[in-house]
């Protein structure tokens, strides 16, 4: 079965700082990878997804993620964060052909104005 690790539990940054949130998964086969964001008091929304092709994926709100197969990683990045990026970020994976998503424990991001 697949699993997902997000090692950063809480990240605090100042506005305009660069962001990188780690995500590692364990599964030996083909995977689909996702980053979801949950703003305070809201539901999960998809930021970006990787199914195949270019391992550098661009999502909404200036976010991007890079799939590095050799490292089993799918880190989320943003060159310059804004206060409105304060939220919880979840990495998720499913094995290709299986709709079940396995989520990481999430990373709480706090942006200081």
């Amino acid at each position: 079965a697949q699993s997902v690790s997000q090692h950063n539990h809480h990240v605090i940054l100042s506005e305009a700082a660069s962001l990188e949130l780690g995500c590692n998964y364990s599964y030996g086969g083909t995977v689909n990878l996702f980053w979801y964001v949950q703003y305070p008091g809201q539901h999960l929304q998809l930021l970006l997804k990787y199914f195949s092709g270019d391992p550098l994926v661009k999502g909404i709100k200036g976010f991007e993620a890079e799939f590095i197969k050799s490292k089993f990683s799918f880190n989320l990045r943003k060159p310059s964060v804004q206060w409105s990026d304060t939220a919880e970020y979840f990495c998720a994976v499913n094995a290709d052909g299986n709709e079940k998503l396995t989520f990481g424990t999430g990373t709480r991001l706090t942006i200081i104005p």
């Binding site: 996702f34 809201q42 539901h43 999960l44 052909g97 709709e99 989520f103 999430g106």
Partner: protein, 115 residues
């Protein structure tokens, strides 16, 4: 703008009471998921359905939880009897269930508090 809807948004109940949570998936989506979110466990998949049939409910405590889809526009999650440890946010999500396309769209959640 198609969205997954969930009712109620908040529920406070006493231990031992029955709780029913409802979800309306996005029209045309044939796959429905139920998740539970807690501080300790994060997001856990409880059960999911394709074309109204349960595909996997291995994440659900069988003795007190039940999930059904009476029709294509309604999914329900029941807890009977409820316990304080069931306090959590319960999310429903829906998807198209197409091979190679696995995006899930989440509802706003039901925040359950069992006293």
């Amino acid at each position: 703008d198609a969205r997954v809807t969930q009712t109620p948004r908040h529920k406070v109940t006493e231990m031992g009471q029955e709780v029913t949570m409802r979800c309306q998936p996005i029209l045309g989506h044939n796959t429905v998921f139920w998740y539970r979110q807690t501080m300790m466990q994060g997001l856990e998949l409880l059960a999911y359905f394709r074309n109204r049939a349960p595909l996997d409910d291995s994440g659900m405590p069988k003795d007190r939880f039940s999930a059904e889809m009476p029709d294509a526009t309604l999914a329900t999650l029941k807890i009977q009897p409820s316990e304080p440890r069931d306090s959590a946010v319960y999310f429903c999500a829906s998807g198209l269930g197409l091979a190679g396309y696995h995006e899930q769209f989440f509802g706003p959640g039901t925040r359950l508090t069992v006293l």
